[in-house]
């Protein structure tokens, strides 16, 4: 949509009443009889070619035109969280849920579902445990177990259409705050809600704001942390792609509350769609007078700039992020001074995570009491997790704080493929730790996770099964942090590689039990001595796996054995002659030519040639290849 100077002036909303009037008009203009076909255009589904599905759908609808009573509307939305089943097509209002839809399926959807109301059964979701075919989103445990607050509009609205966002209530909380509340009351409301930061540490948001607000007058800033660097995490990306207005609205509220006239969104450059939607949201908000001068006639001026981050993980740390926005080297600096006193450009600043800002919009809209009714005593509200790994339903889920790990993984996640339990769940990204099946009933909230040796982090949740080696997992996260350490302070720069080297030796079957004691001691020194939380939390991967899986470490060191069959130096592959059919799949798959044997006769692996890549095991349809 081209916004000319003239019609942008026309679109400006001068007050809360004008916003509410526009919202009612837009809602009234909706045809209640119209079917809506929602096609997911989140990053995951787009990668699976959902735009072609949309195109085919338009063509099929046009072709069927005369037979259709009320022409359905097509709406493209952000991520529905179930990317592993994409492309997704959902028919509203009945909420029929079609997964892995290809352009070739579209004709049938139009002919059956749109014209006669029947379902296309082969596109429906099948429950991984019961084998039941489920028809609507409400029936699918992946959705029914969730509590969507931050994600409530994502998948429902067209994120590039501000009017669609208005219909879903966008900017209502902000309008209320700016029109009917003093800044201090806004902070009070956020404090009362019990909201804690979703970016990692869980710092109380209201308290953070009040620290910056107490500086009377002068330049201040609010910032949004959209650096999201945890491997496998895409919570914040989905929010920005699917409901950018929630973030913009939250930041306006925060700016008003602390007295800032400028906001920055620090977003990683690898998120082009998120940036595109954010830019569009900012343009549309400006055109409607929701950003800029005298917002909704309140006298409050505020605007938001976007800062593209170069992608270093450490730039997500708050002081490093601010240095990066200032154009300096993105390295952490010691606190105090805290950003609430001297932050961006030396001015009082508040940095919150994407999800935190989105929660702020909801809190001002629906009230602190409503928000505080969700979650646990000390962890209010919900949390979005990226559920990945050895779990049937991979995807983005939002759950009330305090829900058990078991519920998330076994119910919403549909369980672990081929097993009735998980071995471990890794939470908190690289800063977090691994929790064992024995802790399956642990309530997932900020404090329980810390007490268990992990942390909430920004919401990564990796499910692991018996084929995952805990020494290897710890090594992986340390390797990641070693790469990402800024190298400024000595305990982190020097210590993290040393921890990893020790684990490297363990995974080769070397080392002694004294090495484990040294590992504890060095880990504590790194935690206590590092300048920023990257080093301060880096040892968690080692400490938590040692705490719950010490036996597995000892198996490596004392018995030179990797029970999970992962550490290459400690395993051998062999073929069970009883099971092998001589199909030759493995010998073709082996990149080393290590497998020989006559056709239809049992094959064998030459150990000296084998590089333990596991290709043979994957290729064997009969399960004849073992690893010991």
């Amino acid at each position: 949509m081209q916004v000319t100077a003239k019609n942008s002036a026309d679109m400006r909303l001068g007050s809360l009443e004008e916003l509410e009037k526009l919202r009612s008009e837009l809602l009234a203009a909706e045809d209640p009889d119209q079917t809506k076909i929602i096609v997911c255009h989140g990053t995951g589904c787009v990668a699976n070619d959902s735009p072609s599905v949309t195109k085919a759908l338009k063509a099929a609808l046009a072709a069927a035109g005369e037979d259709i009573k009320v022409m359905p509307g097509i709406k493209t939305t952000g991520c529905h969280g179930f990317c592993s089943r994409g492309p997704l097509v959902i028919i509203k209002p009945s909420n029929i849920f079609y997964q892995q839809v290809k352009p070739g399926d579209v004709e049938e959807i139009v002919q059956k579902t749109i014209l006669t109301g029947e379902t296309v059964d082969r596109l429906l979701y099948v429950h991984p445990q019961t084998g039941e075919t489920l028809k609507t989103t409400e029936e699918i445990p992946f959705y029914s177990g969730q509590e969507r607050v931050v994600l409530s509009n994502i998948g429902q609205i067209d994120p590039t259409d501000i009017e669609d966002a208005f219909k879903a209530g966008a900017y209502a909380g902000m309008a209320k705050a700016l029109t009917n509340m003093e800044p201090g009351q806004v902070i009070e409301e956020v404090t009362k809600s019990g909201l804690r930061g979703r970016g990692g540490a869980g710092f109380p948001t209201g308290l953070k704001w009040s620290l910056a607000a107490k500086h009377q007058g002068g330049q201040k800033y609010v910032l949004c942390n959209a650096d999201e660097g945890d491997p496998g995490a895409f919570m914040d990306r989905s929010v920005m792609e699917g409901d950018p207005h929630a973030v913009v609205e939250g930041m306006i509220i925060g700016g008003y509350a602390i007295g800032a006239d400028t906001g920055y969104v620090y977003v990683r450059a690898e998120y082009p769609l998120a940036i595109k939607h954010l830019v569009k949201a900012l343009d549309d908000a400006r055109a409607h007078g929701l950003l800029g001068e005298n917002i909704l006639g309140s006298g409050f001026n505020f605007d938001i700039r976007i800062n593209r981050g170069a992608g270093a993980f450490v730039c997500g740390e708050e002081t490093a992020l601010m240095r990066s926005v200032e154009g300096k080297v993105g390295e952490p600096v010691p606190r105090p001074p805290y950003p609430s006193d001297k932050g961006l450009f030396g001015k009082p600043s508040v940095l919150n995570n994407v999800e935190t800002w989105a929660n702020v919009s909801r809190i001002l809209d629906k009230g602190a009491d409503w928000f505080a009714s969700l979650g646990t005593e000390k962890s209010k509200g919900t949390k979005v997790f990226a559920l990945v790994g050895k779990v049937n339903n991979v995807g983005l889920v939002e759950v009330p704080m305090g829900i058990s790990l078991r519920n998330i993984v076994m119910e919403i996640g549909g369980g672990v493929p081929g097993s009735d339990h998980f071995k471990a769940v890794q939470t908190g990204g690289p800063s977090g730790g691994c929790l064992p099946w024995e802790d399956a009933d642990l309530p997932v909230d900020f404090d329980s996770l810390i007490a268990a040796g992990s942390m909430m982090g920004s919401g990564g949740m990796i499910v692991m099964d018996e084929r995952d080696c805990m020494v290897d997992v710890a090594k992986y996260f340390l390797g990641f942090l070693e790469e990402e350490s800024c190298g400024k302070c000595f305990p982190c720069r020097l210590g993290v590689p040393r921890l990893r080297e020790t684990l490297n030796r363990f995974s080769k079957g070397q080392g002694t039990l004294e090495d484990i004691d040294d590992l504890y001691s060095l880990a504590e020194a790194i935690k206590a001595g590092s300048l920023c939380a990257l080093g301060g939390t880096a040892p968690n991967a080692v400490l938590s796996t040692l705490r719950y899986f010490r036996g597995e470490y000892e198996a490596h060191i004392l018995e030179h054995r990797c029970p999970a069959g992962v550490c290459k130096d400690l395993i051998t592959y062999s073929i069970d002659p009883e099971v092998c059919t001589g199909c030759r799949a493995c010998s073709r798959a082996c990149p080393q030519g290590a497998i020989t044997g006559e056709k239809k006769k049992p094959h064998t692996i030459e150990e000296s040639l084998c590089i333990r890549c596991g290709m043979c095991m994957e290729s064997c349809k009969f399960g004849a290849i073992q690893v010991i």
């Binding site: 010691p334 070693e482 990402e484 302070c489 305990p491 720069r493 020097l494 210590g495 206590a528 001595g529």
Partner: protein, 201 residues
């Protein structure tokens, strides 16, 4: 005046003093590597950590950057503190074994050997960044910088392209706590602008 205790001793500090300033003012020694009066404190080497105790809680902070506050209870050589120092020094022994200063300091903490692999027996630089900060903040020349990140970090000319900004004042060599800058001076500082001054350019 602020009053606090350091190692059980009541001391006074002026507002704006760091814990390190306060300790040194009262003759209490805290080891440092990345600190120098002439430049802004940096908080990088963490050798100057001290333990702050509040009830049952305790945490370590870098004394060179942590401000003196009323009522703080500071411990400069608790077991927690010394463990961090010993680990840092042991790792430095393997990282920059050629530095006599580091060997001496480690020796004072009973660290005479290292369990870690020595990568470069000639290395002396501990990457404290003093040279870089002195060149920028004292000389104003910005002729040297840290390049790279994490374990790959090193001291070099900005973007590793020799510049013409060095005025050959030698400040960096003077502040260097390990003698490393003396050995790498020619390589990292670029070409002095006094020599490179070319007419018409």
């Amino acid at each position: 005046m602020l009053s606090l205790t350091i190692d059980g001793k009541k001391v006074e500090a002026e507002a704006g003093w760091s814990l390190l300033d306060t300790a040194r003012q009262h003759g209490i020694d805290i080891p440092t590597l990345c600190y120098h009066e002439a430049v802004e404190p940096f908080g990088a080497c963490r050798l100057c950590v001290v333990e702050l105790k509040q009830g049952n809680n305790s945490r370590l902070v870098a004394s060179c950057v942590y401000p003196a506050e009323e009522g703080l209870e500071v411990f400069t050589s608790s077991e927690k503190v010394n463990s961090v120092r010993r680990w840092i020094l042991e790792m430095l022994l393997s990282e920059c074994p050629a530095s006599r200063e580091i060997r001496e300091m480690a020796g004072q903490y009973g660290v005479n050997t290292t369990r870690f692999e020595v990568k470069d027996p000639e290395e002396q630089c501990i990457l404290c960044g003093l040279c870089v900060r002195a060149c920028a903040q004292v000389v104003g020349a910005n002729a040297i910088s840290t390049v790279g990140r994490g374990a790959q970090k090193e001291i070099g000319s900005p973007y590793l392209v020799p510049g013409e900004d060095c005025v050959a004042c030698g400040t960096c060599v003077t502040v260097c706590p390990t003698g490393a800058m003396g050995a790498r001076f020619e390589r990292v500082r670029g070409v002095p602008s006094v020599i490179m001054a070319r007419p018409g350019k």
